[in-house]
């Protein structure tokens, strides 16, 4: 029973990792760049939700939607203003650029007087509720995380499978030049992908907020989503979620069964083993560069 309990809380935190990893994968697939700002976009999303609820006094659902929409617009603007001018430069300069963006985001939030340096609780309607299911004690916050992730995944799946926009995104991620020749507006799509990634990050932030509180350094959890993305293969959307779940469950079990200190390093040990055994991840494309 305890095992099951641990697995469930691992799944809940794994969903968060998965959602952040989803952002990495979306951006990587579309633009071949790795965004280190994803964790901080999540932090901004959580703060956006907090601001909408407490400062503006929006009702819960309205503020969730407002935060997600605001972050989506922010993502599009970010791509347009700073990412697009250096597309085509070595991948590493874009990594440094996103690290810079992350620094700025974290610093700006910290600079807000009285708010930035404190930790806040997000007043969600399902706070501190518990479902009892036999001997299992289910935390409603965790259940909401799992349910929301499932719904979001279904939505994204449907979008990529059936909508014209999703098809275009798939095409442009597979071959930008060919997609461009087919009349797909690749540049606009890249902007939309960044918006989508930022929106997903905002959702992750809003889901995580009731569990860990809202504070300026919550973006560092993004560093644990990297192992999730790598385990799933950096190029696969379902892989990101599966990778997130694996990392979450491993972390949760390691925290209980292994001595102190293994909880935080377990994801990294997993990713190192993964890179040695199967560098392309569980669902990664097996492609080699040929001359």
């Amino acid at each position: 029973m305890q095992f099951l309990q641990l697995v469930i809380s691992g799944i809940a935190i794994g969903c968060i990792y998965g959602l952040i990893a989803l952002g990495f994968v979306l951006i990587y697939k579309a633009t071949e760049t790795v965004s280190f700002a994803q964790g901080d976009l999540m932090m901004l999303g959580a703060f956006g939700g907090l601001a909408a609820m407490t400062l503006l006094g929006f009702p819960f659902w309205a503020s969730v939607l407002a935060a997600i929409a605001a972050m989506a617009i922010f993502g599009v603007l970010l791509e347009r203003i700073v990412i697009r001018p250096i597309l085509g430069q070595p991948a590493f300069s874009i990594v440094m650029l996103t690290i810079g963006i992350a620094y700025v985001a974290r610093g700006l939030i910290t600079m807000i007087p009285n708010i930035g340096t404190d930790t806040h609780t997000l007043p969600v309607p399902y706070k501190d509720q518990i479902w009892k299911l036999g001997a299992l004690v289910l935390n409603v916050e965790q259940m909401v995380v799992i349910a929301a992730t499932a719904v979001l995944c279904a939505g994204l799946f449907a979008m990529f499978k059936y909508s014209k926009l999703g098809m275009a995104m798939q095409a442009s991620s597979q071959n930008q030049l060919a997609a461009y020749y087919m009349g797909i507006p690749v540049k606009t799509l890249n902007g939309l992908v960044w918006g989508l990634a930022a929106a997903v990050a905002a959702i992750a932030g809003l889901l995580l907020a009731p569990i860990t509180f809202v504070h300026a350094n919550m973006g560092f959890i993004g560093l644990k989503a990297f192992p999730a993305a790598v385990v799933g293969g950096f190029t696969s959307l379902p892989g990101a979620i599966v990778g997130g779940l694996i990392i979450g469950i491993v972390e949760s079990l390691a925290g209980f069964y292994l001595p102190n200190g293994f909880k935080d390093t377990a994801p990294y040990v997993v990713v190192l083993i993964m890179l040695m055994v199967k560098p392309n991840g569980l669902f990664g494309e097996k492609l080699r560069k040929k001359v």
């Binding site: 430069q89 991948a91 590493f92 990594v95 690290i99 620094y103 930035g116 930008q176 935080d264 190192l272």
Partner: protein, 358 residues
Amino acid sequence: MRFIFKTSYAQDIKLAKHGGHVFWYSALALLLVAAPWLFAEYWLAQMTFILIYAIVGLGLMLLAGFTGQFSLGHAAFLGVGAYTQAVMTNAGVPFPLALVCAAGLSAAVGVVVGLPALRVKGIYLGMATLAFGFIVEEVLARWESVTGGNAGIHIKAPDLFGWKVDSGEGFYYLCLFIAVLATLGILNLLRSSTGRAFVAIRDSEISAQSMGINLARYKTLSFALSAALAGVGGALYAHKLQFISPDQFNIIQSIDLLLMVVIGGLGSVHGAFLGAIFLITMPQVISLTKDYLPAAVGQAPGLQAVVYGVVLVAFVLFEPMGLYGRWLKVRAWIQLFPFYRQGMFKRQKSFQKSDRLK
């Protein structure tokens, strides 16, 4: 404008290309030697930090700037060096021996990290080094019998076979000596066939391999050398601070080191020094200007992060060759005055090349 008419190969690989180099570097050397008499103790300590970071930066520059392998966990090597030095010095081992051990152990760890580099590249290598950095930090925090855990560890002054270096000036000279040695070593390495192999790997692995360069050997070697320099830097860092704890070697430190080489200018030895100067003087400049800003901005705790981030973004967007690249432009402008043209250093636009396909 200076034209150098080369008549022999020896002239081509000479470190000082012309009289100007000899003059200016001699002047710099004089200034550095005379620094303890010219600057107050506080600024001397800052210069010592610049030298230490420059040594680490040289190592990272060799790896990132010249071999094209990016490490997001370089602070781990710094930590390994620092802790080796601390433990050995406290056990009474003389400074040079401890330093060699710190460099050696870091290099050994570097080889281990370099192994995944043979199979993975690009972002996956970044992930491997990142993961490795976290694991080392955790080991340093948990291996309490040796490292003292999160409480940290104190370290005695360096002991050069009986001569205790406990003054600021003495330690400054020690750092200066090691930094000069490291710089000359790197410069020499870069004009040897090994250094050329590194650059070839950076520019194209496939063509390097077709020219008969053993990728595995040179990548591992690059990791080992880079880690060894980081270990030396870490050892000096430990002596300078006299107290080390695992959280000094976390991901933030790794990112700071990367920021240093990127802002200094990837692919130039000068860049390591310029980046170190930037990294050390920036907090000073910020704290000096703080008083002139409105209190809401100046006293805010996040100011430093914002400035770092904005500078980093600005450099990547507008000056990808870093401070050294900017200096090259200024120098060309002075040399060519008044014939400098706008487009002389225009960046070549390239289409995005995919790592995945092709």
